[in-house]
Symmetry: C2
Subunit: 184 residues, 2 copies
DNA sequence: AACAAGAGAGACCGATTGGTCTACTTATAG
DNA sequence: CTATAAGTAGACCAATCGGTCTCTCTTGTT
């Protein structure tokens, strides 16, 4: 594993567990054993590292989610597979996402305002909604598919938040039941 | 307004806008004009102030939500009124909650781990779910009311997260439609 | 009038923050 | 062989963090 990848990987783990502002550069350096000079050779600032971490997580998460959806088929079946995937995540059955601690993008978004971080979080959420919409567009009108995708996103966000903050690990199952009713 | 109240009120505003770790004690002092000695006379530490701010927001939010629910009637009507209230909040029609910037408890929870803050956030969420359940217990069995209250909470959390992170200000209307189908 | 308490201004503290710099070691490629 | 780049160790920097302390002024109580 290259030094930049090691830094990103470790920084993500610490940021995800403790929050971005709560983790200092020196903590990441100690954890990785990388020299400070090396970090600043690859990243111009902590902010640049944070943005790299967000893109890294976006990549990991999207790959996982889309492959779970594609494996379930097409259309509504793929959309409903989201909630089975979330259920596995909540119960720590998805090693590549690390032990469940809520949505990293929601947490990161809450720590900044009017910042590049917010734009990256927004883009991540839009990408997911767009992918959902693409899976619904053959079953109904484009307009309706867009509306449905937004509603499915509400259920997905709700399940994650409820599982994390309220500790309701079965939230994905409830969300799936509502999604089934919604998609008919 | 007493000094402690002024500090709590101002600290909340800053924490809500910028995040808890991102706002230092001195910023709060400058904003309020209160002396550092006075702050530490009333609060033993920043952590103590943070906890006071969480309890303050819990009080404001619960008062607002429960009064909106009670004004709409009882049972399912009260539960569905949650989503009308959220819609007003998202569109900044609720001055006492300040301009909408997501759920303060979700944000605060994300900045700490294994901390008194997390326990306060959990309690806040449980209080709301319990109040929802109390409004459903006359319409159905106690067991079913508990399940329904959890599902309604998923919709509520989803609407807030989606409105804030993805900027979908109509999320409450979508959530309400799903709640109607659920309670149907 | 006397006095204790509350509050303000702000100097000061050690620790930590993000970030720079020098000096030295490795490793790879022409 | 040599030149260039990557990496290490860690001293160092100004700024800021949360928190303490002294000194002064004001306020209300008796």
């Amino acid at each position: 594993m290259t030094k930049p990848d090691l830094l990103i990987h470790t920084a993500f783990k610490l940021f995800y567990e403790q929050g971005i502002h709560a983790v200092g550069i020196n903590t990441i350096l100690n954890e990785t054993g990388v020299a400070k000079k090396t970090l600043y050779h690859h990243f111009s600032s902590k902010e640049a590292l944070v943005e790299a971490v967000l893109k890294y997580r976006d990549h990991i998460f999207m790959d996982w989610l889309t492959s779970r959806m594609l494996a379930a088929g097409e259309g509504k079946a793929a959309v409903l597979a989201i909630f089975d995937a979330l259920d596995d995540w909540f119960h720590n059955q998805v090693p590549e996402l690390l032990p469940f601690k809520g949505c990293f993008f929601v947490k990161a978004n809450g720590e900044f305002s009017n910042h590049a971080v917010n734009a990256l979080c927004l883009r991540h959420k839009h990408n997911i909604t767009s992918f959902i919409q693409a899976n619904l567009v053959n079953s109904t009108s484009a307009l309706h598919a867009a509306e449905l995708a937004q509603s499915i996103s509400v259920l997905k966000e709700g399940a994650i938040a409820q599982a994390y903050v309220a500790g309701d690990l079965e939230a994905a199952k409830r969300a799936k039941a509502m999604a089934v009713a919604l998609l008919g």
